[in-house]
Structure formats: C-alpha cells, structure tokens
C-alpha cells in the first residue's frame, strides 16, 4: 500500500501537473495559431473594453437575462465553480502537503467549511446530472462523454470526503482520491473541461462584436 501511495503522490503527481500544464499550453497555442492563420479577423474585431464589459456581466451572478431565466442553474453553477476552485487549494490536508513537501503554506479552511463546500460540489454535480437526465432539451444534447466528465469532476470530492473522515477503507480511498484528482487535472486540456480557459476568449469575442460593431449588449 505504501509503495502505491508514494507512486501516486510522487511520479504520478508530477506527470499529472506536467500533462495539465503542457497540455493546456499546447491546446491553447494550437488554437491561437489556427486563429492567426485562418480567422485573423478575430484579432481585428477584438476590443478590450467591450470584451471585458461582456465578461464582467457574465461573471456577476444574475448579470445576464439568461441567468435570470434559469435561477437554479445560476446558483448551482456559481457555487459549484467557486467551491471547485477554492476547496482543493485551501482544504487543510492539501495545505499540509504543500507545507511538508515545499515548505510553503497558506490559510487553510476550517473543517466545517471544507465539508460544506465539498457537499456543494457534489450536490451541484447531482443537479447537473438531473438536468442531463430529466430536461428534454439538455438530454437531447447529452453524450456519454458528458457523464464521464461529470464523474471525473465529482470523484475527487466524493473520495476526498470519504478519506478525510476516515470511513471504512479510507487508506485505499486516499489513494483513489489522489488518482482521481490527477485524472481530473490531466483531463482538462483534452476535454470540454478546457472551457475554463476558453471562456474569456469566446465571451470576449462575441462581446467585442456586439459592443464594437453591433453596438448592442450581449447579456
């Protein structure tokens, strides 16, 4: 068990980070080059002011009419994304790991808060799952891969909760937790999870088109 542990926290962790970082740079760069070669007009119409204006409206909860029309989804997505980013960085166990391995440390979340945030992530994933199964217009669009991605995102949180609270089998669960986190990292550049990096560009572009050429709002 110990050798598994040192493998997943050692070499595999490095691989995961390298794949995540290099993969993201590669994907981003290939899209950038393609844009330069084939869609250079995009740069022509990109406008910092209008891009930021649009991004800002879509980053503020209920800042767009679309969000107002879908209140449950809006609340779920905002809480989900916030917890998704904050929890892994500030959860006590992770902060300790950084401290032990690199001797850097920062604020750690109280246990209660970490638990609540974990539940929010898992709860939102269940909500997203419900939408995919129950709402006809979402179901129609859903592919098997969408379920897998949802699993990839939920898994580290479910296993982390299990391991942290030392439920039965928590030792193996810790290893599964670490692996699932690494899978998620590595999946980002190669799946739709990459949307987090593309959002500012797609939103920024349509914001620039609407603001600069069409002189209209896009929220």
């Amino acid at each position: 068990m110990h050798s598994y542990y040192s493998f997943v926290t050692g070499p595999l962790a490095w691989i995961a980070f390298i794949v995540f970082i290099c993969g993201s740079i590669w994907r981003f760069n290939s899209l950038w080059q393609l844009t330069k070669k084939k869609d250079s007009a995009v740069f022509e119409y990109m406008d910092r002011k209008f891009a930021l204006r649009s991004i800002a409206h879509w980053l503020i909860p209920f800042g767009s009419r679309s969000m107002q029309l879908n209140p449950a989804m809006t609340v779920a997505t905002f809480l989900f994304h916030i917890c998704l980013f904050i929890t892994p960085i500030f959860v006590f166990g992770h902060v300790m790991l950084w401290k032990e391995n690199f001797n850097i440390s920062w604020f750690a979340l109280p246990n209660m808060a970490a638990d609540v945030m974990t539940f929010i992530v898992i709860g939102s994933c269940i909500f997203f799952l419900w939408r995919r199964i129950k709402l006809p217009h979402v179901k129609y669009l859903t592919t098997p891969l969408d379920f897998i991605i949802l699993m990839i995102v939920a898994a580290p949180f479910m296993t982390g909760f299990w391991a942290y609270h030392q439920f039965p089998g928590f030792v193996s669960m810790t290893i599964i937790h670490i692996v699932s986190g690494e899978i998620m990292l590595m999946a980002i550049p190669f799946t739709k999870l990459f949307h987090m990096f593309l959002f500012p560009f797609t939103r920024g572009y349509i914001g620039s088109e609407f603001g600069g050429v069409r002189m209209a709002k896009d929220w």
């Binding site: 899209l31 844009t35 869609d39 007009a41 679309s66 669009l141 797609t202 939103r203 349509i206 069409r214």
Partner: protein, 449 residues
C-alpha cells in the same frame, strides 16, 4: 383570445413531410465522395479556430434554448440552438465529412429553414457561442453541394442575372421611379427623385421588393426627403438594390459582387453616405457581412439605416409633423438592426416624436423575439410557410400581450419582419395593423408650402 387554435400536436413530423424541389434535386446528384470533398474544402479552407471552438467548447448545457424562439414556440429539443449544431456540424466534424445525402438533406432543412440567423442565442449562451455562424457554415456547405431550397435559390439567380432580387429589368426600375415621382407630385408640387446626381449628401438605396411590391414606400421616402430639403439621389442603374439573398444561400462570391456594385454605385457618384430603406437583412449585408467579405473592416462609405436617418431628421428639426399619430403603437425591434446595430433607442426616439401612445412589447430591445422570417427563411417560400408560422407562436404570444395592454399598431422597421409578422398576425388572429416608420411619418408629416 384565439391562441388556442394554434396548438400543434404533430410538430415533430412537420419538417420530415416538407419536400422542397431544390433540396430534393440537389441531393439526388450527390455522392459520398463529393460530399466529403466539399466539406473538407469548406472546413479546411474557409473556416478555422472559431468553428472548432464553437463546436468543441459547447458544454451541452442547453442554456441557449431559451434564447431561440423556435424552441420556445415548438418546445421540441431538436430546435434548441445547440441541437441544430448537433444535427449539422457536430456530426459532420465527428465523422470528418463522411455523411450521407440524406444527412445533408436534413442539415439543409435545419440550416436554411430552422434558424433565422438572428443571433439571439449568442446572448443566452454563457460562452457566447455563435450558432448563427455555425449555421452559415452549414449553408455554405449546402450551397457548394447544390442543395438549396428552390425559392431562395431563385432570388439568388435573380441577383446574379439582374443584380437585384426580384428580376426587375433596368428599364422597369427607371419607370418605377418616374411613376412614383409623378404620384408624389400630387402630394408635393415640384417634388423630384433625382437620378444619378453627383456629390449628393445622400445616396438612397432600397431592396428589390420595393419597386416590385411596395412602390409606395419609394413615394413616401421621396416625400420625406423633399420635405427635409435633402440633397439626395437614387441610382438609375443596377446597384440600386441593397438586398442580398446570396448572403443567406451561402453564395459568398455573388454576395461580394452585389455588395461591391452597391458600394461602387454610391462611390462613383461621390455620394457622402448611403441611406438605406427600412430593411434589416439588407443592412446586415452592407454593414456587417458583405463589407467583411470584401476585406473592409467597416463599410468603405458610411451606411445609415432609415431609423438612424429619421432620428436625425427629428433631432435636427428638419421635418415637422402636423399632429401625433393617435392610435396606440407597439414596436418590434428587428434583429438585424438592433442586435445588429443597436438602433433600438433611436427607434424609440422616433416613436416618441411621432406617436402619442406607445406600449412596449416584452421582451424588447436586444432581447426581442425574431419574427421567424429572417435569415432567408421566408424566402424559402410556400413549402415552409406553415412550419415558419408555427415557430412564430412565441412571437404571437408577445404580440397578444402588447395588444392586451392596448396596442393596435405594430411598427416594424424591416421588410422581412413585415412579411413574417403579417403571416403570424393572420394565422393566430392577432388582428393588429403593421406599419413602417415611413408610413407613420408620411401620414403625419407637415408638407412645406
């Protein structure tokens, strides 16, 4: 309300039943090899990161659904914006172009008749994914495969033969202008429609259907121009038509020819700017799409839609009105000049300057629903009329709501919108009257001695 009679039960089979001669004849000539090579050519040579990102980034979240009046009207998941991508380019890119003629047939029906290219969904998708752009790529592929609905292809043929949309012959055009000039002289002595005048402040252009079906609009414009004592002109030769069905069929080569001729007509006469009649798609073709295709970031000469021009007339007090238009009005914001050019506040200025009672329809401004006729859909003709009107159900509800608040007249400053709204009003029994701004201004204009 007569809304109940509109409920349609068998909508799912609707599009299947529609047979279009242009599409049918087109797919009969297709082979899998030809389909694949055309798709590859369009995707590799004419598109790039935008298409890839739009198709790959889509999270299948369905939030765009509430952006599309097709979905809102029909409540069928196949009509959500992302679903239209799923049934077209999503599949095509996944299969790397290896799709059947049957697939192309369905894709053509979706791209040409189930999307008005109104871009409303881009305002509802959190990522701003532009489904209208994806549909335009699909249309481009269909056009290159020769699979285009018959009626709209006929207007595109007219464009390429006569350089106008309605097979208007050169002498008929001049005749129409002279006839309208004569008619208008009854209203205003010494009125002129100056032809080919060099160095005018305004080069006035219209769409093909104006001389063909709505010549009184030219008459009204002439009266308004004369009342405002404008230094204006209209061209006597091809180049007078600013409309563009080729933009919608996917025939971009022809679109470029049309736009170039239109710009050149104005530039050759050294006009200061182009003022366009009340049309939405024509404005889009000149202000947004055609100029880009020709390599101009923005149009090479200032182009002004009638709304902007009328607003200016009132702001600069160039015309006077006798009295305000009394009957309560509501305003339909045409996509192509509102989401396409932000003219909604100017439109409201004109309403306030001309009408005594104004009732907003909701949603309005950028969020207004399209009339279901735009993007060339109405031009696909009779085979698709019933389906088009069905997809205007949400629009009908919106009109009924404005009517319930007292509105009697709908101002729709766009030709296509008129066509679409007329059918909706008739089919659902909304019983409201449609008007252009030009109609209202003409009716209440104080004519100078």
């Amino acid at each position: 309300m007569s809304e109940s009679k509109t409920v349609n039960d068998n909508k799912k089979t609707e599009s299947k039943k529609i047979e279009d001669q242009g599409i049918q004849k087109g797919i009969e000539q297709l082979t899998p090899e030809r389909i694949e090579s055309v798709i590859r050519q369009v995707i590799n040579d004419e598109t790039g990161a935008r298409l890839k990102v739009y198709v790959d980034t889509c999270l299948h979240c369905g939030l765009c659904s509430k952006g599309c009046h097709f979905f809102l009207s029909l409540k069928d998941p196949k009509f959500s914006p992302a679903a239209k991508v799923k049934q077209t380019l999503w599949e095509i890119m996944r299969k790397k172009g290896k799709v059947s003629p049957e697939f192309i047939k369905e894709a053509a029906l979706i791209a040409y008749t189930q999307c008005n290219m109104c871009k409303r969904c881009a305002m509802y998708c959190p990522f701003g994914l532009d489904v209208a752009y994806v549909m335009s790529v699909m249309r481009r592929i269909c056009y290159k495969l020769g699979v285009v609905p018959l009626y709209i292809q006929d207007t595109a043929h007219s464009h390429s033969v006569a350089m106008n949309q309605m097979w208007v012959k050169d002498d008929e055009w001049i005749d129409t202008l002279m006839w309208q000039e004569e008619e208008a002289q009854d209203a205003m002595e010494n009125l002129r429609i100056p032809l080919d005048k060099e160095g005018a402040d305004i080069f006035y252009s219209v769409i093909g259907p104006e001389p063909k079906f709505r010549a009184q609009l030219i008459f009204q414009a002439a009266v308004i121009m004369n009342a405002a004592k404008e230094n204006w002109t209209m061209p006597s030769m091809p180049g007078w038509d600013n409309s563009d069905m080729c933009m919608f069929t996917g025939d971009y080569e022809m679109m470029e020819r049309l736009k170039r001729l239109h710009f050149e007509s104005a530039l050759n006469l050294r006009a200061k700017r182009i003022v366009m009649g009340e049309c939405g798609h024509a404005f889009r073709s000149v202000y947004d799409v055609g100029n880009r295709a020709l390599g101009w970031r923005m149009p090479p000469i200032e182009v002004v839609h009638s709304i902007e021009y009328f607003n200016e007339l009132f702001e600069q007090k160039k015309i006077k009105i006798r009295k305000k238009f009394e009957r309560p009005v509501t305003l339909h914001d045409p996509c192509n000049i509102v989401r396409g050019r932000g003219l909604h506040e100017m439109a409201r200025n004109i309403v306030n300057a001309t009408c005594a009672n104004f009732i907003e329809m909701t949603p309005n401004r950028e969020h207004n629903y399209c009339c279901s006729a735009g993007g060339g859909v109405i031009n696909c003709g009779p085979p698709f009329k019933n389906a088009r009107v069905e997809s205007g159900k949400e629009k009908a509800k919106q009109l009924f709501a404005a009517k319930a608040k007292g509105a009697e007249v709908v101002i729709a400053p766009c030709h296509n919108c008129h066509g679409g709204l007329e059918d909706i009003i008739h089919h659902y029994g909304v019983e409201m009257e449609l008007k252009f701004f030009g109609d209202i201004i003409y009716e209440i204009l104080e004519l100078p001695e």
